[in-house]
Symmetry: D2
Subunit: 247 residues, 4 copies
């Protein structure tokens, strides 16, 4: 299979190297990834300045842009043959619940979907990053299952994997997104010149981590696989809104 591999932690991250290592044993893999850490980039596109791409010594391609830029440039222009699948990751750290909407890792997969390709985002649910090979193996497992069960045209898979040996995984759970508590308040601080600055802090704790959520799966040693719909319409509310909005 021809796979376009990207991520948001940059072309230099350990996670994308581990995933490339595993995928290229079975597939034809091209890596196109950001030249800088783009965690939190969401689906941002670099509309205001031009993109540039360069090949590194290891054959990976590096782009001065976002994860979405990498996939768009690759599929729409740079690659001679269209890939069969877009894979994004392995992210350093989980993408659970509300994280999904901010994640550049998920966004690279979403961009693949918008280009008409099946797509998987994968994250290792720990910042220590001990068992990237576990996540890589899970991706291989899922790819072989997708052959017989293709994803619907509007969907991607968001996969989170516990940072433990593959043999110790409890299994795999199909999950819905949980919810985080609102993030801790930003606090003003000062740069060394005495000017006020504001930094984001770590994400909030789990608010909805009940059974069925991605949080719950990870907390219990399961891989979490959440199908995400790139159509954000709240279909369930359309009828009710028609009632009151036109009054």
């Amino acid at each position: 299979m021809k796979i376009l591999l990207s991520n948001d932690d940059s072309v230099f991250a350990k996670g994308i190297h581990a995933l490339h290592e595993a995928l290229q044993q079975h597939h034809e893999v091209t890596v196109i990834a950001p030249d800088r850490n783009c965690s939190g980039a969401s689906n941002a596109l670099s509309l205001h300045q031009p993109l540039r791409i360069q090949q590194l010594d290891n054959g990976f391609y590096s782009v001065n842009g976002t994860p979405s830029d990498c996939v768009h440039l690759g599929v729409n222009c740079f690659l001679e043959e269209e890939p069969d699948l877009v894979v994004s990751g392995i992210n350093h750290g989980a993408n659970l619940g509300d994280d999904v909407i901010y994640s550049g890792t998920v966004a690279a997969a979403t961009e693949g979907r918008y280009m008409g390709l099946p797509a998987i985002a994968v994250s290792l649910a720990s910042h220590e990053g001990n068992y990237f090979e576990t996540a890589a193996q899970v991706v291989l497992d899922i790819i072989s299952k997708l052959k017989h069960h293709p994803l619907p045209a509007n969907q991607i898979l968001n996969v989170n994997v516990p940072d433990i040996p593959y043999a110790e995984l409890s299994g795999i759970k199909v999950t819905r997104q949980g919810r985080r508590h609102r993030a801790e308040g930003m606090q003003p601080s000062q740069d060394p010149f005495g000017r006020t600055i504001y930094w984001y802090g770590p994400a909030g704790a789990e608010q909805d981590a009940s059974e069925g959520t991605d949080f719950h799966a990870i907390a219990n040693g399961y891989c979490s696989v959440t199908p995400l719909d790139v159509d954000m319409t709240a279909h369930q509310s359309l009828e009710e809104m028609k009632d009151w909005l036109n009054k």
Copy 2:
């Protein structure tokens, strides 16, 4: 009502000034918006460098970040009192169909929703920008209806308004997102130093603009109001996936 007003076209854009002008006649409005054009910023957060905020002569606040940064900083830290509503826009140009996932305008509203606040994104469906006051009036109309019909906790409204006089509007339609055709291929070009660069081009044409979509409403002179769900889980696929993923 206390309103936090942001956008993605920057604190200097005509659209946000027009909306501020209309809103402040009935509400207490604080403007916090990006210092540069952030069209296409999606829900990006500036996690890798600190934010700075400054007040301009007209009282608006300007932030060296994204639309999501503006709303997060405002609600989570900067404003003394939490707003009752987040409004984002008026965007210069439509945000229809697939645009939604890339739009910084929609993202500012989404961020408000994640902070626990009702939120509206509004766009004027033309790049000429002749009738911002039409869109501003539509926002006022919707705000007064929301008093009696509060939005569900996971939803925001994505409002697109035709660029015509208010009196000529055909009405208001509750819509689902349409779909665009895949964007035109990026073409490589050269910078003045002869190096290869890639620019995004304009968005693709409509692929699904059938009745019921946001595209269809705008094309027929209606305001389009699409409820968006910030939970992206493809709930409809969970059961089926459980069958094949665990085999």
Copy 3:
């Protein structure tokens, strides 16, 4: 006289507004300045992405680039008539000794000189910024003297003014650059995500602030005027180097 006014603290800084206010009473002034704080930008040119310019409500022009970009774009392309003089400032804080080579304020003047125009950089030697009007008056004084004593083709003036009332100035001194001690060591710190980062700290203290230097003039209540040569060749060393380099 037609004056192009720029700075490095951004088009929103108090210093450039104060200088514009004073200059425009006697001259025809166009302001083109960076849209963000560019302290420390030196003579950097934005060669890798395109520049954009917009006019603000107060008539000032704002550019997404460096001080050198602003002057280059203004003189080389944007202004219909070539200015007679480039003025840069009033910088918030002194530009003394080694500061000169890093200063975006000085660089805007240097760029003017490279375009063939006389140029003055002016800084208020305090971060409190109480008496910008003093520095503005000093610039007016110097401009009127330059009419009869034009600057040589390779030179610009670097003016530093004490932050005191104009009537209390001790006078004006022609000075040479002093020297700072090597800056305090950068110390590694951590961002809120636990990653190592490095910030510059304040500049080092004076190492050569002896009589005749810019430091000495300011410390004694004088304006400091240092002529700077944009040719950096160490002419005094050419002969001696020829001896040993070709052996």
Copy 4:
């Protein structure tokens, strides 16, 4: 000798790899260079956001900043032992005449000088980059001569080398900076969204390329070595200015 090697074309450029290859056969070399192309960065310092450094697979260090940042961070903080020499290059393309003040390659050397270290900037005078090994050998030659003829405390060497085999060099010339004609006018163009943008174009042609200049040396097949003085004071004008400025 312990050498800190940097450049402005980025840690991935062919020129810095060629120079590292040659230097490390005789010296202990650490590479710290920008993660992106910083041509035109001049002496810019990243004062407004923190620096980050990472080690690549080949042992080189990559910094999200300018050439001056790389040298400052290396000497002031990151390296356990202070280097004996800072070398910057090999730049892809000449740094002659007016180029010097904009060059990030020269700036990295200047920063070394400000930290108290001897410093050499080296450029290959062609954009084809066929004979980087010639420039590397010239640097080795100069380093061995500097042992017996140390540079004055305010000076660095700006070396330009013709892009021809080492054996075909006409020799080495000590030169002064020539002058370029004012750059070609920027022309407004449009981005793909129809918005006006401005790009820099190639540098102007030679205006002063007479005998004794760096331009003249290169044009005649010689290496050009220009001593640059990091003190920009126009000492020759101080006395005359005192006369008229205080009247």
